[in-house]
């Protein structure tokens, strides 16, 4: 085993950053576990028509 796992996962009381479904953050709050919710949205995909516009310009 080259790099033994840091016990950070289990050594301290968990404190969570939640990315995605808020239900999981709600469940942690119900348990009084510190949690911070990240407001995540899907990354913008370029629009097809914008891409072909760019293609026609280049």
């Amino acid at each position: 085993m080259s790099n033994p796992p840091d016990p950070s996962l289990i050594a301290t009381p968990p404190s969570v950053i939640n990315v995605g479904v808020e239900l999981f953050a709600d469940a942690l709050r119900q348990q009084d576990v510190p949690v911070i919710q990240v407001q995540w949205t899907p990354p913008d995909e370029p629009e097809d028509d914008l891409m072909s516009l760019l293609d026609s310009l280049i």
Partner: protein, 504 residues
């Protein structure tokens, strides 16, 4: 009847939020159907079945949001549509005045003591946040599935480099320092550590440990694919090392579907090197002989019991209630409808082909149902699989898909017995027993004959839904309530045997 279908292009909401909006709309005056969903191919099929696939809905893309509803009169339909708009634009966190961080970096700046990032974004977008979390020194619980194998290995190699752990992808359950993460139960703290590639498997084991009077130090999820040859058990092996070194863990349980043979050997070898007793449960694997400190258990419940005894617990295993309902019934076939994938898999392996071939979406070749939405012969389905959940919340949160299927099975005169799981705890539905009981009552009316239903409940006295109340509700609806999947399958098998069901 008045129909309204509204498309909101490129508007994203997570599936749980959408499910809640759908449910709220169904309560609006005059509304007979409401579906609020992302326009994925599967969801478009569902819209079509309800007569709601308008040309606009058909043309919508998976990134577009569809609000579709049917009400008795126009005024009600318009009012419901306004309500939908209001619910969708509502701030999700109006309870606090804080501005939410938009990135993991910002979140860590606001909460520098954070130790774990729990990530449940659509699989196609999950690698980025998971990688960033690891780079920032966080451990990761990656609930998302449909992450590529290559990305999984990259993440786990990065975790190793950083001395951290990736629980996942496709990991829905963990209990760390007593905190239930994802779908997990309120379990007494104690000396048994659990490591699992199987979410509901870990849930059943930890709940039984609690019942038997012992408790859990930590329950670490590895993700469903961790023990494949390509991933090599990277997270499992690191988790074993972690629990080996943890003073609070005296006994370890490992649970998974059978790994690839080389990985199984590597895991067993690592277990043998730990100076603590280990109980290994490879679901459905034929029994292996014990090797020193490593014992093998064939079922989830046997694994829990064995570990509990090693931890010094003296409680008795729980027993099913209401089994007298198994004395009657007609029809020929078992219909198992599971929300928990591992429980479904275990049921399949335990029933085997004792009563003839069993169809399942977890099986291969001609045992896979031709139509995922129609049972033929003995059928046991994992409703958490992709064909049932695209663009929808998991059946442990959203009971709708399974409820519809229960009614369809009840209408089939060949259905002899229903086998269901009910998982409570954090992450699960607020009151799954009432929702299920209502469906079972409707099912009974549709069947027009006695139809035994076995429900395995997975939960603890500490769970927010109220364990005893959930059991009472199920019993009042006439269900037989089992307390472990193996017990439920045994009851189902005895029932089929007593009715002289022979292989076809």
């Amino acid at each position: 009847m008045a129909t309204r279908v509204l498309i909101r292009p490129r508007e994203y909401h997570d599936s749980v939020r959408l499910m809640r909006v759908s449910q709220a709309l169904r309560q609006e005056p005059g509304v007979t159907e409401a579906l609020v969903m992302m326009a994925t191919p599967n969801n478009r099929k569902i819209l079509a079945t309800s007569g709601l696939l308008t040309p606009e809905a058909e043309a919508a893309k998976p990134d577009d949001l569809v609000v579709a509803l049917i009400a008795e009169i126009n005024g009600q339909a318009d009012a419901a549509l306004d309500r939908a708009r209001a619910l969708l634009t509502e701030q999700t966190t109006s309870r606090t005045a804080e501005v939410l961080p938009r990135t993991i970096d910002a979140a860590l700046a606001a909460a520098p003591e954070a130790s774990i990032a729990t990530i449940s974004v659509p699989g196609a977008h999950a690698f980025g946040p998971a990688k960033r979390a690891l780079e920032l020194g966080l451990n990761v619980l990656l609930f998302s599935d449909n992450v590529s194998l290559e990305d999984e290995v990259r993440l786990k190699d990065l975790a190793e480099e950083k001395g951290r752990l990736v629980m996942g992808p496709d990991c829905g359950t963990a209990i760390i320092g007593g905190a239930a993460l994802g779908f997990a139960n309120q379990v007494r703290r104690g000396p048994v550590g659990v490591i699992g590639a199987s979410g509901t498997g870990m849930q059943e084991i930890t709940c039984l440990l609690d019942w038997l009077g012992t408790g859990v130090s930590h329950a670490i999820g590895t993700g469903g694919r961790d023990l494949s040859a390509a991933v090599g058990g990277r997270t499992m092996l690191r988790a074993l090392d972690l629990l080996a070194a943890d003073a609070g863990t005296e006994v370890i349980v490992v649970t998974s579907k059978p790994p690839s043979p080389e990985v199984a050997e590597a895991v067993i070898a690592r277990c043998a090197a730990i100076g603590k007793p280990v109980v290994v449960n490879f679901v459905g694997d034929p029994d292996r002989r014990p090797q020193g400190n490593v014992a093998f258990a064939g079922t989830l419940s046997a694994a829990a019991e064995h570990a509990a005894r090693l931890a010094g617990a003296t409680g008795q295993m729980p027993v099913a209630e209401g089994t007298e309902a198994l004395a009657t019934g007609s029809g020929r076939y078992l219909r198992g409808l599971y929300a928990g994938g591992t429980l479904c898999y275990e049921a399949l392996t335990l029933i085997g082909d004792r009563f003839g071939p069993v169809q399942s979406n977890l099986a291969k070749g001609n045992l896979k149902p031709a139509d995922p939405f129609r049972s033929e012969g003995h059928t046991i389905i994992d409703l958490g699989e992709d064909e049932y959940t695209q663009g929808r919340a998991h059946p442990m949160i959203d009971p709708d898909t399974r409820n519809r299927r229960i009614l369809a099975e009840a209408a089939d005169p060949d259905t002899a017995l229903l086998l269901l799981d009910l998982v409570i705890g954090y992450g699960a539905h607020d009151d799954p027993a009432t929702a299920l009981a209502e469906t079972l009552t409707q099912a009974r009316a549709i069947a027009g004959r006695p139809l035994p239903v076995i429900v395995t409940i997975c939960g603890t006295a500490g769970d927010p839904q109220g364990f005893d109340g959930q059991i009472a509700t199920l019993r009042a609806a006439g269900a037989i309530v089992a307390r472990s999947n193996a017990e439920a399958v045994r009851l189902a098998s005895d029932f089929l045997e007593a009715r002289h069901v022979q292989p076809a």
